[in-house]
């Protein structure tokens, strides 16, 4: 046990020294990426460089990352156990939290909408807005709301897949004039990016909320599994 800790410490120290040396002696970049991004900004359809990289210049990466999110929530859906969903067991169902939520919820939704809209000219965008939306859902859940519409399997699946499907759909529609996948026409780039971001926001928020909600608190004790005929340790 102590030997393990000592070895781990030595290895970590070695990695820190090696990484630090790599940071110090890193080669100068051959490409001047900030300049290339800046020169391509006018044709991106948005005014903020990070959003332009995220949804135009490197949108293929973002597409695959959304696919990873969808994959994570699909696996979590497959692994969940059938159990009654009892939000009142969150133990936070009190009148104060409920009335504060009534004030907070509209504010959170406005913030999410602003972040989404602001993404085109300042820091913000689909990922931040989606996370804020998910936070609103988690808060609602902690306050004891049932969110029963999420139990509608068809609706939930459609919502989870909406972002990725819209992304792929728009990426393929723009191929019609004969350009490569995900190459937006300059004139409509801003509108297309906003449409993608809007659906991405909804799907990201729903994904994060589902990952939280799919595992309501229940007795984690393996003894319960034993009485229900589960596998033995």
């Amino acid at each position: 046990m102590i030997l393990r800790a000592i070895l781990a410490g030595l290895l970590s120290l070695g990695v820190i020294v090696a990484l630090g040396w790599a940071v110090l002696e890193r080669p100068a970049p051959v490409e001047n990426l900030p300049e290339r991004v800046a020169s391509a900004m006018p044709e991106s359809g948005v005014e903020h460089p990070i959003t332009a990289v995220l949804l135009n210049f490197r949108s293929y990466d973002t597409l695959l990352e959304i696919a990873v999110l969808l994959l994570a929530v699909v696996v979590a859906l497959a692994l969940r156990e059938a159990q009654p969903d009892r939000p009142e067991q969150m133990g936070l169902d009190n009148p104060l939290l409920r009335s504060v939520m009534a004030w907070l919820l509209p504010l959170i939704l406005v913030v999410a909408g602003f972040l989404l809209w602001a993404g085109s000219y300042q820091p913000g965008g689909a990922f931040q807005a989606g996370s804020v939306l998910a936070a609103a859902g988690v808060l609602l859940r902690l306050a004891g709301a049932h969110l029963g519409w999420l139990d509608n399997a068809a609706l939930l699946r459609a919502g989870l897949a909406l972002g990725l499907l819209t992304f792929i759909g728009i990426g393929m529609v723009v191929m019609l004039p004969g350009v490569p996948f995900l190459t937006y026409p300059e004139a409509h780039a801003g509108t297309l990016i906003l449409a993608i971001e809007l659906t991405l926001t909804l799907s990201i928020g729903l994904t994060l909320l589902s990952l939280f909600r799919l595992n309501p608190p229940y007795a984690d004790d393996p003894d319960d599994a034993r009485t229900q005929g589960g596998p033995k340790p």
Binding site: I50, T62, A72, V73, L211, P233
Partner: protein, 102 residues
């Protein structure tokens, strides 16, 4: 090399330290939750290195920043997925670590 401790590199250095700390925790601990935390600390270190190195002399490079922003959301989702798997594992076996670790 001059400018080793200059402003923008502080983030990269902190990231390197966090990565090392996370690696230590990941190896030294056997409890799955501790390992998940350690792995997340490693990930945060990697993000900090990316963000820190992206702002060298010629202004901020937006490409690593865009990578980190998606990376954070993916890290949150994968952490949640890991928690789902851990809970299933604990419920099925009653253990908080992996058998080959003991």
């Amino acid at each position: 090399m001059s400018g080793a401790i200059s402003g923008y590199l502080v983030f990269a250095w902190s990231g390197v330290l966090l990565f090392g700390l996370g690696l230590f925790g990941f190896i030294a601990h056997r409890h799955l939750l501790r390992r998940l935390l350690a792995f997340n600390i490693m990930g945060s270190g990697a993000f900090l290195v990316l963000v820190g190195l992206a702002q060298d002399g010629r202004g901020v490079d937006p490409v690593p920043h865009a990578m980190v922003i998606t990376g954070i959301v993916v890290a949150v989702a994968s952490t949640a997925l890991a928690l789902v798997v851990f809970r299933r594992w604990y419920r099925a076996s009653g253990r908080t670590d992996l058998p080959e670790d003991t």
